[in-house]
């Protein structure tokens, strides 16, 4: 479903170029949940943004379904690939009600039965119709993230890209959102890529995991290996160790 081949993303800086992603190659099968983990600045979000066409790729190729990413991205592609961003406080337009937020993608994509679809989408993410005419500031963080997920799902995408969907939320709310994502994946047979730095979150949702560091994928492994801590790369091991909590005086600084 998703194929990335030797993808490179570079940004211009004051002193030349910085490679945010270097020769990333991965493959995600139809209906799979693929996890990308790594520290901040490792390029995992950039890979997602490249997949949606939000950042241009310098070399290599990316393909989602039957679409190949190029200069021109058509509307069918945009509809098939939807993204949920990290910060639900920043990703919803504050002057739109939930209704307007959900209606806009429908209008853009020329879809019919707006009202019915909006109500369906709200129900699907576990928000009642009472939330329809609220503004973003009248919602809690978890409710906002549900609206963001509803906005992505309302155009019936086949691929859902999740950029740290729960890292801005409390653990109790995180559990609700993770349950929701798992149910949606099962019911809709969505292909998902989940970016996270939390191994436990990735372990809950994903089947395969790629570990990124400094713009490169250092290891790709099935989730069972992660759960059994059967990992080859030192970096993956330190990530796993860090997930278990802080060890006083035991971590030596990198």
């Amino acid at each position: 479903m998703i194929e990335a081949n030797e993808v490179q993303v570079r940004f211009k800086t004051k002193t030349g170029f910085a490679d945010a992603v270097r020769s990333a190659t991965f493959h995600v099968g139809e209906g799979d949940v693929f996890g990308l983990v790594g520290e901040s600045g490792s390029g995992k979000s950039t890979v997602l943004r490249a997949l949606t066409g939000l950042v241009p790729i310098a070399s290599g190729s990316m393909r989602i379904g039957r679409h190949t990413l190029g200069k021109h991205i058509d509307r069918a592609f945009r509809r098939e690939v939807q993204m949920v961003f990290q910060d639900p406080y920043g990703s919803l337009y504050p002057r739109f009600t939930v209704d307007q937020t959900l209606r806009e993608p429908l209008t853009i994509n020329g879809m019919d039965r707006h009202d019915a679809r909006i109500l369906d989408a709200l129900r699907e993410v576990g928000l009642g119709p009472a939330f329809r005419f609220r503004y973003a500031h009248q919602l809690s963080g978890g409710q906002r993230q549900r609206v963001a997920i509803a906005r992505a799902l309302i155009v019936e995408p086949r691929v859902l890209l999740l950029d740290e969907p729960t890292s801005a939320l409390d653990v109790s709310v995180q559990a609700e959102i993770l349950n929701l994502l798992r149910r949606l994946h099962r019911e809709r047979h969505l292909t998902m890529i989940l970016v996270s730095h939390n191994m436990a979150v990735v372990g809950f949702l994903c089947q395969r995991v790629a570990v990124m560091r400094d713009g490169e994928i250092v290891e790709q492994l099935p989730i069972e290996a992660v759960r059994e801590q059967n990992v080859a790369h030192e970096y993956t091991r330190s990530l796993l160790l860090a997930t278990e909590g802080y060890r006083r005086k035991a971590i030596d600084p990198a």
């Binding site: 790594g38 520290e39 901040s40 600045g41 809690s140 963080g141 890292s167 409390d170 653990v171 109790s172 709310v173 995180q174 559990a175 609700e176 993770l178 349950n179 798992r182 730095h197 939390n198 191994m199 436990a200 979150v201 372990g203 809950f204 992660v226 759960r227 059994e228 330190s238 990530l239 796993l240 860090a242 997930t243 278990e244 909590g245 802080y246 060890r247 006083r248 005086k249 971590i251 600084p253 990198a254």
Partner: protein, 286 residues
């Protein structure tokens, strides 16, 4: 007040006035003490009043807040009787705070070096430009920033969230304050960086014998980093225990929070979701 008590709050209440004049209580009679060099974790969901408690100590409550306390002291300073000017002098030297989100807590129109100069200038006004630069670079290096010279001249928007938070910590911790309030210092960071940041915090706190109030919603982290934990819900402390005993906590809220974090090994098909008891949020303590 005992001899080794660093900080004490007694019966702190904070309320906000709504448009129609009704008061909503956000913090409902919190009392806590912190010993010298102790690490106290405050855990709870957003809206439980944990951040407000930390801010009240520094005198950083918004002007719309109506607050009262029976006692609030740091060392031998009575924070309630102090003049605002004197109290402000304590901030940044005797007590500092690490805020939640570096995107909002760093000044977007100043470079990192400029704002660090402001903070360090308060602590040691006589430093010359060269020594100041060295100190800034050293402080950035201490928080494991790979290229401190470049970061010093960068604007906050040019840094990643993790780097921004490390800059914030470098600014606050290197003065060696007596009391440090860390308000979710690592919730914007990824696990590895937060471990490094915590080891820096650990080091600094041990060096200066700083008392730490660590506000977080991450129970495993608090369990492993702090000595003692307060669990807050609806503006009240529902449970206090030693950090190592948190796994055997009694209160249903604490148990619910513990169960909600996904385990790495054998995660369940569906995560248990916290059931909220309305009595926790009631006006009168249950």
């Amino acid at each position: 007040m005992q001899a080794d008590t660093l900080c004490e709050i007694n019966n702190l209440r904070i309320a906000f006035e709504a448009h129609d004049g009704t008061l909503t209580e956000a913090v409902r009679g919190i009392s806590l003490t912190l010993a010298r060099g102790e690490r106290l974790g405050i855990v709870g969901e957003s809206g439980s009043g944990k951040s407000l408690t930390g801010r009240a100590l520094l005198g950083l409550l918004p002007s719309s807040a109506r607050w009262s306390a029976d006692a609030m002291r740091l060392d031998n300073h009575d924070l309630l009787a102090m003049r605002p000017k004197e109290r402000r002098r304590l901030c940044g030297t005797q007590m500092s705070m690490i805020l939640q989100d570096p995107k909002y807590s760093l000044n977007p129109v100043m470079t990192v070096a400029q704002q660090m100069r402001e903070a360090f200038g308060r602590q040691s006004p006589k430093l010359n430009a060269k020594a100041m630069r060295e100190r800034i670079v050293a402080a950035l290096e201490a928080v494991h920033i790979r290229d401190p010279q470049r970061v010093a001249d960068a604007y906050p928007h040019e840094l990643s969230g993790g780097m921004g938070q490390r800059v914030m910590i470098a600014m606050m911790v290197s003065s060696g304050p007596r009391l440090l309030i860390a308000d979710e210092p690592t919730s914007a960071l990824d696990v590895l960086v937060s471990m490094q940041v915590l080891s820096v915090l650990d080091e600094m706190i041990a060096k200066h014998n700083t008392g730490l109030i660590f506000i977080s919603h991450d129970l495993p982290l608090v369990m492993s980093f702090c000595d003692r934990v307060l669990v807050m819900v609806g503006g009240r402390v529902v449970e206090t225990c030693a950090a190592c005993d948190l796994a055997h906590a009694q209160h249903p809220y604490t148990r619910g929070l513990l169960a909600a974090s996904p385990p790495l090994r054998n995660p369940p098909d569906e995560l248990p979701v916290l059931q909220r008891d309305p009595a926790w949020f009631a006006e009168i303590a249950p």
